[in-house]
Amino acid sequence: MGLLALFRRSPPTAHVAKERLRIIVAQERRARGGGPDYLPLLRRELLEVIRKYVNVDPDAIQVNVEREEGQEVLELSVALPERSAVAPS
């Protein structure tokens, strides 16, 4: 620590902090804002069951919880493949 250190300022980094926080907070809010904690597991298990019958793409299943006039609605949508391919059994 020399004499010069007395005159040195910490670099302005507040804007970096703000930008990083903005991104991570938005991402974490999306992750939990999607609904209750059990949604990702529910989605995975539903996918397993559906795949026993139809060979769907992992991205073809949408599970959402929506609030409508005070009640919560669990919405499940599955896009079936064009020629409903039969699962290998």
């Binding site: 300022r9 910490s10 670099p11 302005p12 980094t13 507040a14 804007h15 902090a17 703000k18 990083r20 926080l21 903005r22 991570i24 907070v25 974490e28 809010r29 939990r32 209750p36 005070g70």
Partner: protein, 270 residues
């Protein structure tokens, strides 16, 4: 009518207990009947900050277990007749607090005519923190203008919005307020520290107070006199403003700008 206010943050060491003690004193100084409860089971500290550590006979868990009455466990403050402290237990049993037990204590305080109950939450998102916020009507989220504190408090906001009685009832949820502590206007001006509006923008909360970084906070805890009572201190006045805002009064923010230096201070430092 009783209002239950949780003082919470997620991250440790940001000033929850300091804030709880000062808000409780500020409300009592305005003649309100106030109870302040330490929810940090196993790590009791509110008693030290309030300066009543040698008068703790019974604690929160004793009341819940029926070892004593609520009246026996409430420690009356020496400065204000309408202020009472309920100390945390020093037990290592993490399950000592139960939801039913906490509810009963809060209901009994309410029946006893308490107007404000301040719940001093432990850090983290475990059971103690959960129970401290569960029955709250309002939340004061204590944040330092620093990345980990801001991120953790956003996590707490998520819990306030989902894991509280008010959220479960769907009647408007818990009203949330932001209280910034350890704020340094000088470092904000030089771009080293996030500003009030930066934090506000990220979290999307109303600001109920901005407490400047102050050496008086340490001397206050050394002495067991909540910093709000050291009236010459900037931190004290900032906390007093926060109390006013909690009571619905309008107060402009103070201590958020760098004071203009006079000739002598500029020449000789200060």
């Amino acid at each position: 009518m009783t209002e239950t206010i949780v003082v919470t943050s997620g991250k440790g060491g940001v000033g929850k207990t300091t804030t709880s003690a000062s808000l409780a004193c500020g409300l009592a100084r305005r003649g309100k009947k106030v109870a302040v409860i330490d929810f940090d089971i196993g790590l009791r500290n509110l008693d030290l900050i309030m300066g009543c550590e040698r008068r703790v006979v019974y604690d929160f868990v004793n009341v819940i277990n029926g070892d004593c009455t609520l009246k026996q466990a409430l420690i009356k403050d020496k400065r204000f007749d309408t202020l009472f402290v309920l100390a945390a237990s020093q037990t290592r049993d993490k399950d000592a607090l139960t939801s039913e037990g906490v509810k009963k204590v809060l209901d009994d305080l309410s029946a006893d005519g308490f107007e404000y109950i301040i719940c001093d939450s432990p850090a983290g998102i475990e059971k103690g923190a959960h129970l401290a916020m569960y029955f709250a009507d309002r939340a004061v989220v204590v944040v330092n203008p620093e990345v980990s504190s801001v991120r953790d408090s956003d996590r707490i906001l998520g819990l306030l919005a989902s894991k509280t009685h008010r959220a479960e009832q769907g009647n408007g949820g818990v009203k949330e307020h932001l209280l910034l502590t350890r704020y340094s206007p000088k470092r904000v001006e030089t771009g080293e520290m996030m500003s009030v509006s930066d934090v506000q923008e990220i979290l999307g909360l109303d600001v109920v107070g901005v407490v400047p970084e102050s050496q008086d906070v340490l001397s206050a805890s050394n002495a067991g006199t909540p910093v709000i009572l050291n009236e010459t201190s900037d931190a004290s006045q900032a906390y007093d403003d926060a109390v006013s805002r909690l009571l619905g009064e309008q107060r402009p923010l103070r201590f958020t700008d760098v004071p203009k230096k006079g000739f002598f201070t500029r020449m000789f430092g200060g």
